[in-house]
Amino acid sequence: MFESTGGVFSLISDSGPVVLFVLLVLLLFSVVSWTIILFKAGMIRKAMKQSADFLDYFFEVSSIDKVFAESERYRSASLARVFRAGYIEYRALSEKKDARLSTERISRAIKRESNAESRRLGRYVAFLATVGNTAPFIGLFGTVWGIMNSFQSIGQAQSASLATVAPGIAEALIATAAGLAAAIPAVIGFNYFSQQIALVERDLEDFSTEYVKSFVHELD
């Protein structure tokens, strides 16, 4: 408070090695979680938009061959990808005319692709939850450590004046601040992406049966 006039950075430079390490870890966490947030935000937005466009086209056009040709344009759309997997399976079966077996195989292929799509969308998102849960604790650890050292040095200085106590505590609190700064966006991102991914998954589930029906109809 007194001698430390350079603000946050002078506090950081005065910190001990453990607090510095904690700050470094938190900075890394923050960078990675922001990378994931930016990456996923673009990915999910694109997937949802293209899925909606693809669905429009799917209901407009009756021929599944045409839809398949068009689905090339919707590479990021989860619904289009699942449709393509179903179509490829349908093509492989087209010679065999066993409808019950064909339906089963097509549904299985679609189910498989839906799961893969869920996994693809949800990849890395778990890390956001990890950062959101652990970063405050890591920061707290840095703070506790810093305060411990600060009290030790107060004991050595044999003075409990504010001037002796305050800088150490301010240094230590930087770690908690950094932890919160890393955790808050991560938690917000995690909640948002979880909700969006859940929406896409529900769509996949809903339209899987629709696709199967259209393929079976084509087979008959």
């Binding site: 007194f2 673009g42 590479r75």
Partner: protein, 290 residues
């Protein structure tokens, strides 16, 4: 197609990483910039006698320092000398254009040992009683003079009261121990320090080093001064600490007491300074030791 997807995904991931890094660098850079914009907080000062010669001893201290009641002594003196005497010359011009025949005598001894301007001001007041008892005056002039006397008497009383107060504040306990302008600075910049002054500055530096207090805990707007007499035995131990006058803050007194405890033992008293124990008077103010 899958390969192309994976490559595209990787590219997007790297782009996101770069953006995230730039974002963090931007935030940290912004933080540095914002911190740089803030005016640097004034630091707590540690004033040492050695670097502060003579009567300017209190000046170099930034009076705006945070958490310090900045009540410098100087302005008070200026107040007295500037504001009080002002009405006088006017009054005198109106009433008494000729002053020559009156022998100027100052009947009472000057109450203030101030070396500065106030003393001429006081002298001017003293002329009044000397002028007034002149018999050949018209009633008007006499009346005027009376009024004048009355009007002059008031500021004089006020001034006396003020100067008494100021004297009290300045001189501290009636003891020769506390000489504000004493110490190494007395002889001006070029003077060679006497052994006593050298020792005193050494002692003050040591006490200043072991003295720490928080300006925020001191009452604001008050003049805080603690007059402390210490007895130093020849081997340097502080044998006795007496508060001749405590400051208005108990906290401040406590920090002073602790500083003296920490500073003991002081360096041994040189033989040319004192052979037996040495008694030193120190004035502790938030600005330093005087």
């Amino acid at each position: 197609m899958k390969k192309g997807d994976a490559a595209g995904e990787q590219r997007r991931l790297v782009t996101a990483l770069v953006i995230a890094l730039v974002l963090h660098a931007g935030v940290l850079g912004g933080l540095v910039y914002v911190q740089g914009l803030q005016p640097p907080e004034p630091e707590i000062l540690t004033v040492s006698l050695v670097s502060l010669p003579g009567e300017g001893a209190q000046r170099p201290v930034e009076s705006g320092a945070e958490g310090e009641p900045s009540v410098p002594d100087e302005p008070e003196v200026v107040d007295l000398s500037r504001s009080e005497p002002e009405p006088e010359p006017e009054a005198e011009k109106q009433q008494e254009p000729v002053e020559e025949p009156v022998p100027v005598t100052s009947p009472e001894p000057e109450p203030e040992p101030e070396p500065e301007e106030p003393s001429p001001a006081v002298e001017q007041h003293k002329q009044v009683p000397a002028e007034s008892p002149e018999p050949e005056r018209s009633v008007d002039t006499a009346l005027n003079e009376l009024q004048e006397r009355v009007s002059r008497q008031k500021p004089t009383d006020l001034e006396r009261a003020l100067s008494r107060l100021q004297q009290k504040v300045k001189a501290g306990p009636p003891s020769g121990l506390y000489d504000r302008s004493s110490g190494p600075g007395r002889g001006g910049s070029g003077a060679v320090l006497s052994p006593y002054e050298q020792y005193l500055s050494q002692v003050v530096a040591i006490i200043t080093q072991s003295w720490s207090f928080s300006g925020e805990l001191l009452p604001r707007g008050q003049d805080i001064e603690a007059y402390v007499a210490i007895t130093v035995v020849p081997d340097g131990d502080i044998a006795d600490v007496t508060f001749d006058r405590r400051s208005s803050s108990m906290y401040f007194d406590e920090t002073v007491r602790k500083a003296l405890e920490l500073a003991s033992p002081l360096p041994p008293v040189p033989a040319e300074v004192a052979t037996s124990s040495l008694r030193l008077g120190l004035i502790f103010t938030p600005r330093g030791i005087e």
